[in-house]
């Protein structure tokens, strides 16, 4: 799971190559604070444009989606991104960079995998809010009522996908990059269950030896840091980290699986981003079944929220030799991060009652592995 990039920002330009991919329309704009339209431009840089870090806490995301409309019957327009970013630096030219998109050739790994395997037109973050609550949906199928970055403690009966798998005689691991990057699951998983953790090095070895657990969740490196005399680049793609290093990180995960032919034929790799990071997208997040929680008003800027609307759309790509080349999952099939534990539970465990409403109703995706025989050949990434 990568960090803080929207679908249109990363993959929207693919629409020019394949009109089935729901990238931004050619004439898509957002108004600036003076009401002038700001167009999408293919001018995204690997780093240097998104400082300060675009706001993506609930009140700001609400503004980005509804453009400041707080009326009872408001409709999401996806027209508030420029105005939201403008508030941070009061600079119209700078705020317009929130509408920049990458050219496909700038992200050769992500765009190649998207075109060769399956790209989701409608994978949304689970909450119109920041990282930790969104990642919680990938681990637990809920954020336990959290809509912000506060820590929390997961409580039964909703246990993590790792607990469920282990209790069912299956195996599962979270692979964090290294100890200095650590995990974003410190309070609930790392403290209490260090046995379900491994490092990026462990992941590479397990791929080589075909000893991966049934389910593996891989975390990128969250910081530029120096260790043992070496410079280690952040690979999470969180603004303002260099996006190419994240593309290379994705390539290394794909390569590790692809190099082991046995592992390749029995593994599905999902590449997904936790949330949009304040970057533009043109598809309004749909409503969803309430989660049984109500967010604290101090986390939402006073806006009532019952976890009944998804967050902004994010890139999601599914890789497997059992997927037909060039699969585009249509917009009529809506996915969110609760789709991850839903899919894993369905495949490895089967019926499992103690899940949230959101997870029970989340779409699953293994039907995309539809070929009668695994594709042969293919490609691998290498240093240029």
């Amino acid at each position: 799971m990568m960090e803080n990039r929207s679908f249109d920002h990363m993959l929207g330009s693919l629409r020019a190559k394949d009109p089935r991919i729901d990238g931004y329309p050619d004439d898509w704009t957002n108004p600036d604070p003076d009401g002038r339209p700001v167009r999408v431009k293919l001018k995204a840089a690997y780093r240097g444009q998104l400082t300060p870090d675009p706001e993506h806490h609930f009140p700001h995301v609400d503004r980005q989606i509804f453009n400041g409309d707080t009326s009872p019957n408001r409709v999401p327009t996806m027209k508030g991104f420029v105005r939201s970013y403008y508030e941070q630096r009061q600079d119209i030219d700078h705020a317009a960079q929130i509408m920049y998109a990458f050219k496909p050739e700038q992200l050769p790994v992500l765009t190649t995998l998207a075109q060769e395997f399956a790209v989701f037109n409608a994978w949304f973050s689970s909450i119109p809010g920041p990282t930790l609550c969104n990642r919680a949906f990938a681990h637990y199928g809920t954020s336990f009522g959290q809509a912000a970055m506060a820590w929390w403690y997961a409580t039964k009966p909703t246990v993590s996908i790792y607990d469920r798998l282990v209790a069912s005689g299956r195996t599962a691991k979270v692979y964090y990059f290294d100890q200095s990057s650590s995990s974003l699951e410190v309070p609930n998983l790392l403290k209490n269950q260090p046995a379900v953790f491994g490092t990026y090095d462990d992941f590479l070895v397990s791929c080589r030896d075909d000893t991966l657990p049934d389910y593996a969740f891989v975390e990128p490196n969250y910081t530029d840091h120096e260790e043992d005399g070496l410079e280690i680049l952040a690979s999470d793609q969180h603004p303002d980290h260099h996006v190419r290093e994240g593309d290379r990180f994705i390539a290394s995960i794909y390569n590790a699986i692809r190099r082991n032919e046995t592992l390749w034929r029995k593994t599905a790799l999902l590449i997904v981003y936790d949330e949009h990071g304040g970057l533009f997208d043109h598809v309004p997040p749909p409503a969803c079944p309430p989660d049984g929680y109500e967010a604290k008003l101090e986390e939402t800027g006073g806006i009532p929220f019952k976890f009944d609307r998804l967050g902004v759309r994010v890139p999601a790509v599914l890789v497997s030799p059992w997927i037909p080349r060039g699969t585009v999952v249509p917009s009529t099939r809506v996915f969110e991060h609760a789709s991850i534990p839903a899919t894993v539970t369905e495949f490895f465990i089967g019926d499992y009652a103690d899940r949230t409403v959101r997870e029970k109703q989340a779409a699953t995706f293994l039907d995309l592995l539809s070929l009668p025989a695994a594709r042969s050949g293919g490609f691998i990434f290498a240093d240029k």
């Binding site: 100890q179 309070p187 090095d201 070895v205 969250y222 120096e226 260099h242 190099r259 293919g378 240029k384």
Partner: protein, 115 residues
């Protein structure tokens, strides 16, 4: 490597991308505070670094490493020989290890304390 695989070349990330003195994001700041909370008693007894003192990515990395070593001692072991042969620090896409790039020593902009 399996046979008949096409090679797609991916450019390396430029060295200028590295900035260990970059101020931490809200995400990493929260990660540091979470780590501090989990080891509150330990820090009170043995630690002198407060999470609010952590400002840069390098400082955050050192802080998180100290905490993670305690929470996850298994991770302190050196990589298995096979892994060490596969990877240098940072992301490498080659099967053979490439030469490590020595860190550029820079003057410290802020004080650091290593546990």
């Amino acid at each position: 490597m399996p046979p008949r695989l096409k090679i797609i070349g991916i450019p390396r990330t430029p060295a200028t991308a590295f900035d260990q003195h970059r101020l931490i994001s809200d995400l990493v700041r929260n990660q540091v505070y979470q780590a501090h909370r989990e080891l509150h008693d330990w820090w009170r007894t043995l630690g002198s670094v407060k999470p609010e003192q952590v400002q840069t990515e390098q400082q955050a990395a050192e802080y998180l490493k100290a905490v993670t070593r305690i929470l996850h001692p298994e991770g302190t072991r050196p990589p298995a020989p096979a892994a060490a042969g596969k990877r240098t620090r940072g992301i490498s896409l080659g099967e053979r290890p490439r030469a490590s790039r020595p860190a550029r020593r820079r003057p410290r902009k802020t004080s650091r304390k290593r546990r």
